[in-house]
């Protein structure tokens, strides 16, 4: 019987009905302290420290601090210190602030090659879907479930439904993985994938780098998906030094069926810009802010201080943020640097680049990308979640308008009263130079 990729991985990990084995548990400082504390109170042990890996990312300042003690915010410092103490007590390997392997949890997993095809991967973080780019079944869980995995290395989970999104055509010049996923969410809705594990397939996906595939899978949660995945191919195997040939089985069989299939035309997509307060509030850069048709859209326009009919290219910005688990890998930084090279940030714009990991930072500096960004007027920071969620000193001020390569444009996400527009790294870089959104396809020629 033919099987799809999700079914193959699921079946291999069923310990009992609705109880699946977890191959890798990633841990960070925000969603784990209560889980460790509960283990301690109930005198339970951590079953498999060798399948658990921790890092500090949400709270860390990006100012180059190298120890938890240097974090000025009292509560942030305590949270990172508690993570370090918990990891020491329970024997969990950790790359905390100051380590040259530290970084955003979803950037370091693939970087350290602990994210591998065919695995089940969980983390107390909704963007765990990122790891699905490697044909792994990866998803976010809550703190009670973090505790469950720490104690048992399994998760109670009802088998989700499966969906395949078949992309047709090819991405045009200047149109990236970020635009592909934003366009998909715009077409299929912010709860369109609720209850489903989504496999992204078709020639436009095959043509993407692993980094592009990570960007796509990362945002699966933004349209409600339980997980997102891409099948193994040569590009996947090339990520690893000695990839076993057996990994090639982590694809959907030719005649496998899915509970639902959707088709998206990649050729029809322009670079995308969100105008509202969900990732589904999105428009092509050569388009305009639409007429609101729901209460949610009306509310979003008020919050964003935008009126229907305003051309996207007329929206002026205060801030540009290049970073986050969606777009902070070396390929993202190279693409953005290419755009700003020899140019200057528009004088009023506060622009920052935050590498996704210490390793990405080291590599970028080796290539001189830090110089390119600094010369253009960008602030070059150290690794962390940074302004994606503003749990650290990098935040928007009330009313500040930001072009951001992150994943969520929710009200207040980047700072209370801040207004977020989601875009690709190239679009963010060009927006920094112009001080407003520009269509990257016809710009700078």
């Amino acid at each position: 019987m033919p099987k799809n990729l999700f079914e193959k991985i699921w079946e291999r990990h069923e310990v009992a009905p609705s109880l699946i084995y977890i191959d890798l548990h990633l841990v960070h400082e925000v969603t784990s302290p209560q889980a460790f504390e509960s283990l301690r109170m109930k005198e339970r042990t951590l079953r498999r420290p060798d399948r658990t890996l921790a890092t500090a990312d949400h709270n860390v300042p990006t100012d180059g601090s190298t120890t938890a003690q240097q974090i000025k915010d009292h509560l942030s410092r305590k949270q990172v210190e508690v993570l370090e103490q918990n990891c020491a007590e329970f024997g969990v390997p950790i790359h905390s602030i100051g380590s040259d392997q530290q970084g955003i949890v979803h950037v370091i997993g693939p970087e350290l090659r602990v994210t591998q095809p065919g695995m089940t991967i969980v983390c107390g973080d909704s963007h765990t879907s990122t790891h699905g780019a490697f044909a792994a079944l990866a998803f976010g869980i809550g703190t009670s479930e973090v505790e469950h995995v720490l104690a048992t290395q399994t998760l109670q989970q009802k088998k989700p439904a499966s969906m395949r999104v078949n992309y047709e055509g090819e991405l045009g010049f200047g149109v990236t993985a970020k635009d592909l996923i934003l366009g998909t969410i715009g077409q299929l809705g912010t709860s369109g994938a609720q209850g489903y594990v989504v496999e992204y397939a078709g020639a436009p996906i095959r043509a993407l780098s692993m980094e592009g595939r990570m960007t796509i899978c990362n945002m699966s949660i933004e349209w409600g998906g339980r997980a997102g995945m891409v099948a193994v191919d040569d590009t996947t195997l090339a990520w690893f030094d000695d990839a076993p040939e057996e990994w090639r089985e982590f694809t959907s069989d030719d005649d496998a069926s899915f509970d639902r299939e959707e088709t998206v035309d990649a050729s029809a997509l322009s670079p995308q810009v969100t105008w509202g307060t969900t990732p589904g509030h999105v428009a092509p850069v050569d388009g305009a802010v639409p007429e609101p048709s729901t209460e949610s859209e009306e509310r979003a326009l008020v919050y964003m201080d935008l009126e229907p009919g305003r051309a996207i290219e007329e929206i002026e910005l205060d801030t540009v943020f290049i970073g986050s688990c969606t777009n902070s890998r070396i390929g993202d930084l190279r693409a953005a640097a290419e755009v700003v090279k020899g140019r200057k940030v528009s004088r009023d714009i506060r622009a920052m680049v935050v590498p996704g990991s210490a390793q990405v930072k080291i590599q970028a500096e080796k290539e001189g990308l830090d110089e390119v960004f600094r010369d253009a007027g960008f602030d070059w920071r150290s690794a962390g979640c940074s302004m994606c969620l503003g749990m650290n000193p990098d935040t928007l001020q009330p009313g500040e308008r930001c072009a951001s390569t992150s994943n969520r444009n929710f009200e207040g996400r980047q700072g209370k009263g801040g207004r977020t527009h989601l875009v690709s790294p190239q679009m963010a870089a060009a927006a920094a130079v112009e001080g407003r959104f520009v269509d990257i396809r016809g710009w700078g020629e």
């Binding site: 310990v15 009992a16 609705s18 109880l19 084995y21 191959d23 890798l24 925000v30 969603t31 302290p33 209560q34 504390e37 509960s38 109930k42 339970r44 079953r47 420290p49 060798d50 399948r51 949400h58 915010d73 509560l75 949270q79 508690v82 390997p93 392997q101 090659r113 602990v114 695995m119 909704s126 998803f139 976010g140 869980i141 809550g142 703190t143 009670s144 469950h148 048992t152 290395q153 399994t154 109670q156 009802k158 989700p160 912010t190 709860s191 209850g195 949660i221 409600g224 339980r226 969900t278 209460e295 949610s296 969620l389 503003g390 749990m391 969520r408 929710f410 207040g412 996400r413 209370k416």
Partner: protein
């Protein structure tokens, strides 16, 4: 987890859809390492808007795609700490729904028109055993996974249940566990 079955009383109304967990409990409150005391920060920014009215009641009725975004369990913790025992909506985000069931906060999915009728009724009785919501508009059935319902009704500890199956996990690891990667050797 304490057992739940019948939840009855007033209905608080939040007539908004796509309410994400960043709104339910903003990021600045995620820095605490404790599990309690989040109720006073529930909808922290929205609560400052003029006309905001969200009385403490056993039941919250709200719009579709409730609890989208971040996986933070702090969101159900805050709703429960505020006083809600059940949330009724046309749909929930997956992780949020699951998180609620882990702490004994009952998520109930009803069709949109029934949620509106419930909002107007202002009072209701939810019976988990019977899987019904009773209010001035009538008796409306709802679906819930039988295993989740059983655990909620009996107030069972998930980890305790799984640890009883430890022999199955031992057997899986002995026979079927994939080799590598080993994080402790990094």
């Amino acid at each position: 987890m304490k057992a739940i079955n019948i939840i009855e009383g007033g209905v608080s109304v939040l007539a908004r859809s796509d309410v994400d967990t960043d709104q339910i409990i903003p990021k600045q409150f995620l820095k605490r390492v404790e599990r309690t005391g989040f109720g006073e920060f529930l909808f922290y920014d929205w609560a400052k808007e003029p006309g905001w009215h969200l009385p403490v009641n056993p039941i919250l009725a709200t719009g579709a795609n409730f609890g989208s975004g971040s996986s933070r369990e702090h969101a159900p913790w805050a709703l429960e700490d505020y006083g809600f025992q059940a949330i009724v909506a046309p749909s929930f985000a997956d992780i949020f729904y699951s998180n609620c069931t882990k702490i004994g906060l009952l998520p109930v999915v009803l069709p949109e028109d029934q949620v509106k009728a419930l909002m107007e009724a202002g009072e209701a009785e939810i019976n988990l055993q019977e899987q019904t919501v009773t209010f001035a508009g009538g008796v409306v059935p709802f679906d819930i996974d039988p295993e989740i319902a059983r655990r909620l009704l009996e107030g069972l500890d998930d980890i305790g249940i799984t640890l009883e199956q430890q022999h199955l996990i031992d057997a899986y690891e002995a026979e079927r566990e994939r080799s590598g990667p080993v994080t402790t050797s990094l």
